[in-house]
């Protein structure tokens, strides 16, 4: 049995309300909530980045179940905001947990690099190459001030340790779907990404999420009603409900794994953190489908069953996703600019 052995998430404490962003840019304060389903987004502190979020998420996973560093055979960190352009985040993670014999690499695929990391570790476990591997999705995503992404681009991350012993959630099956679809991109040297506006919807998010979800259910021989929970990539608070409805899922299946209304789009952290929120409440026997989406564009889908080991697993040893969503310090737009290093000064 290959699956999740332990998991942990981290969401920075700072939030900015989307109404405050709307005030700044002259939009109606209710616009982001009504139009995008977003109430607030998480903001990294001045001294936080994708690497510090990754470490905090991983430490939360290790509080729940400690896996010694020497047993870790792989570390993949998925992010589109790695602190360095050249110098891996994964090597920092290896140092923090003392995993000096691990295969370590950074991944980037817009918002799906975290689930790509999970698939890589899953494959290495299944191949018998390693006993345990770390997969992390983490981001402090950037949105151009005043752009639609300013309302959603947020910060957070989740770490999974995948293995084959004492598995709390078995990964029954996983598939991917990918096409060359330029819905969102950032050219080398550019500070903020660009996107294709409405083009990010139908040919990008919906096509890839639906294709991967359908392919997974076809190969696994399952139907939407076989699942207790469904987690979709959550670029806003509306797309997951819309794609869920089209695939035949109910709002009740979607809601527990949908946290973007409260913390925004954590990019590579998105689907992994939504899944983490579901694992926080799931019972043995519960079946979960998780489908990520990364612009550019692709989706990874997972069919997961919670095992009896969840009963003896120490979930309470680390803060749950909703605990971290609910502990919040609200800041104004000027403080947001300060924390995000967006104020231009003379060198």
């Amino acid at each position: 049995m290959v699956g999740i052995v332990t998991y942990g998430s981290y969401v920075p404490i700072y939030r900015i309300k989307t109404a405050e962003i709307a005030r700044m840019w002259g939009d109606k304060p209710e616009h982001p909530e009504k139009g995008l389903g977003l109430l607030a987004k998480s903001v990294p502190g001045y001294d936080e980045d994708a690497a510090t979020i990754a470490v905090e998420a991983l430490r939360n996973a290790l509080k729940r179940k400690n896996i010694p560093g020497e047993k870790i055979g792989a570390i993949f960190v998925g992010s589109e905001s790695h602190p360095y352009a050249v110098k891996p985040t994964a090597s920092l993670i290896a140092e923090v947990v003392g995993a000096y014999k691990a295969h370590a690499a950074d991944l980037e695929f817009a918002c799906k690099a975290g689930t790509a990391a999970m698939q890589n570790v899953y494959a290495m476990i299944k191949a018998g190459m390693i006993d345990y591997g770390i997969a992390i999705g983490t981001d402090t995503s950037q949105g151009q001030p005043g752009d639609a992404l300013d309302y959603s681009a947020s910060a957070g991350g989740t770490a999974y340790i995948i293995g084959k012993e004492d598995v709390i959630a078995e990964i029954n099956h996983t598939v991917s779907f990918v096409t060359d679809t330029p819905d969102f991109w950032r050219r080398e040297g550019q500070r903020y990404p660009s996107h294709g506006g409405r083009f990010t919807g139908e040919p990008a998010y919906f096509k890839h999420v639906m294709s991967a979800a359908k392919m997974l259910m076809e190969e696994a021989g399952t139907k939407p009603e076989d699942y207790d929970y469904v987690v979709f990539h959550q670029p806003n608070g509306k797309f997951p409900y819309r794609v869920g409805k089209r695939l035949g899922f109910t709002n009740e299946q979607i809601k527990p794994g949908l946290i973007s209304p409260y913390i925004g789009n954590t990019y590579s952290g998105g689907t992994p953190t939504g899944l983490s929120a579901v694992l926080d409440i799931a019972k043995p026997g519960d079946r979960i489908i998780a489908v990520s989406f990364g612009s550019g564009a692709g989706s990874d889908a997972f069919d997961i069953t919670v095992t009896d080991k969840m009963n003896s697993y120490n979930r309470d040893a680390a803060p749950k996703v909703m605990d971290m969503v609910n502990r919040a310090k609200y800041i104004d737009y000027a403080t947001y600019l300060k924390f995000r290093r967006m104020i231009v000064e003379v060198d």
Binding site: I13, Y14, G45, Y46, D47, E48, D49, A51, T52, V55, E56, R59, P83, Y84, L92, E95, V96, G98, P319, D323, R327, K329, K338, F339, R341, D347
Partner: protein, 134 residues
């Protein structure tokens, strides 16, 4: 800070690894190669020990005149944290309003950016502290 100096200290800074004297049991952070109490008896015998990251505020100050690189964080709190293992550690307390900090406040270590060597240099990571959840 030059790259090699930071690199040498990375394990202590990332994971709060100190040393314990096997003769008298005293724990030191930052790590010491020799126990000042036991002298030559401890030479070559000091053991590495990972601190729990837990602690209480022993004393603190609120900094309004920042050091280089901390302008965007002021006013910020620098504190001496008393750890259950023994050592008192100096560190910043973050994610807190300065007026909330008090002596005896329970805190725990978190992993943060400590500094960076300009825009092109290395980023230094290490421990800071945040208040425990109520």
């Amino acid at each position: 800070m030059v790259v090699p100096r930071f690199w040498r200290e990375r394990r202590y800074r990332y994971s709060l690894i100190g040393t314990r004297c096997p003769v008298c049991g005293t724990v030191y952070f930052p790590p010491r190669d020799v126990c000042p109490k036991c002298g030559r008896e401890s030479v070559g015998k000091m053991e590495e020990v990972q601190l729990s990251g837990k602690g209480k505020v022993y004393s603190y100050t609120v900094v309004h005149q920042n050091v280089l690189g901390y302008k965007y964080q002021k006013p910020y709190v620098m504190a001496i944290i008393e750890t259950p293992e023994g050592p008192k550690i100096t560190g910043q307390i973050v994610d807190v309003d300065p007026e909330e900090v008090h002596i005896g406040m329970p805190v725990h270590a978190v992993f943060r950016r400590i500094g960076e060597d300009g825009k092109a240099g290395i980023i230094q990571y290490g421990y800071k502290f945040v208040p425990d959840e109520e």
